[in-house]
Subunit: 232 residues, 2 copies
DNA sequence: CGAGCGGTTGAGGCATGTCAAGAGTTGTGG
DNA sequence: CCACAACTCTTGACATGCCTCAACCGCTCG
């Protein structure tokens, strides 16, 4: 986009650092700022009838709740920091005004929204088509491939949160990890060790239409699968 | 958008009528055409490991697989006609070229994508936060409110498909509908009769952040909740 | 009429959630 | 530095939601 426009957005926005566990956004509130994670990580979650579930984890550098800002609609998800996190906030009205003025920016927004959309569809497919055991196996395998195929790595998030993200209870995740030891992967604390990749792959049956394309060497995704995110 | 640009898109595209049950799109195929349902209805579904689930039903006039066209990426979902359906096909390359040339068109695409994104997020929240009984109750209530709050209406889709959409088996849906008779709604064949709206509402606990905003009188949505759809 | 299909119903089993208790870890304040 | 509190994680026992399999009904359509 035009440098002048870019600068205009920057001057209208501001950057702030938040402590861990802080609620940045409450679902249902009007969308007043586009958020961009510069450093740290943010959990997006849904709430309903005293229940809660993790929808995604946003890691640098990504936007979130872009869709709500564009539509000038209430946030569909809440957001809280998982750690000390630096965030840039751009007034939603400025964002809306800007992609009307700057065609390049509009194209970037289109690209981001399309990517986000596909992310959620993938996630929804995983939830509906796989059982919890398969989701866990796929997740562990996917994280390994994101880390350039290493056989050992550490989980990027707490198990409690991972369980919620995968649509199961912490107890169930714990048990599932235990039984998965017979299928090519061992998890000790936050440490994941893939002992038999072929076997784990056979169980997880990874699919690029669900788990995403094979990562290219240049990308550096670390978090939960839909780490690129842009709506809410 | 500019009339000239609109006409250009029209001349590049063509309209075709398909019989019921025809597979329009196979998931994983490259996105070559943007599809627009002019008449009839289309099911979007996901497949994995010999399992299948309905993701959405698209009704006139809506686009689908917009996101795949934009990203020039493989379709994440398959699509098949549910009835005799008239569809307009626009070459994906023309769509991509057009929103680079025409700012108004780009804005329309942004709006459509943002709406689609929010649709899927709602759907995902419903799947993760509600159990099957609550999903069924919400769905029945939602359809009633889309039909201007009438107490009686007919289901817009087959129960078999509805079950898949709601993430359950046909048997389970059948049983659930039976037990729901004690909670303010009766379903005979495809006919839905809400006998005690307050009671059904108490059970469904409808939420505009999941079920969508209260419909305005001018809109005429009929199908499954995310009838507006635009990605894949 | 008979095949095919959607829908319903029943029986039984597995997967997952719930409740409860305890081990291990982390962070805090005395 | 230690003691305590709070929290995550784990494990067990139990309950239940949901699926699977199978049979049957009713309708549609050739």
């Amino acid at each position: 986009m035009a440098q002048a426009h870019f600068d205009a957005l920057l001057t209208a926005s501001y950057v702030q650092t938040f402590p861990p566990g802080l609620e940045l956004i409450r679902q249902g509130d009007p969308a007043d700022f586009l958020h961009i994670v510069l450093d740290g990580s943010v959990e997006l979650f849904g709430q309903w009838a005293d229940r809660e579930c993790t929808m995604a984890v946003v890691q640098p550098v990504s936007t979130f709740i872009l869709a709500a800002c564009i539509r000038d609609a209430p946030y569909l998800m809440g957001a809280r920091t998982l750690e000390r996190t630096r965030i840039m906030l751009i007034p939603a009205s400025d964002v809306r005004a800007m992609f009307r003025r700057d065609g390049e920016f509009a194209l970037a927004v289109i690209d981001e929204l399309a990517a986000s959309y596909r992310s959620v569809v993938r996630s929804a497919k995983s939830m509906k088509l796989r059982n919890s055991r398969e989701r866990v196996a796929s997740y562990l395998l996917r994280q390994s491939s994101l880390a350039e195929g290493v056989a050992s790595y550490t989980l990027p998030v707490e198990k409690r949160l991972l369980a919620s993200y995968l649509g199961m209870t912490p107890e169930n995740l714990s048990r599932t990890l235990r039984t998965l030891e017979g299928d090519g992967v061992k998890v000790i604390g936050a440490r994941v060790i893939i002992t038999d990749r072929a076997r784990l792959t056979a169980l997880a049956r990874p699919d690029r239409l669900i788990d995403g394309p094979d990562p290219v060497a240049t990308s550096a995704g670390v978090g939960l699968p839909p780490s690129r995110d842009g709506g809410g």
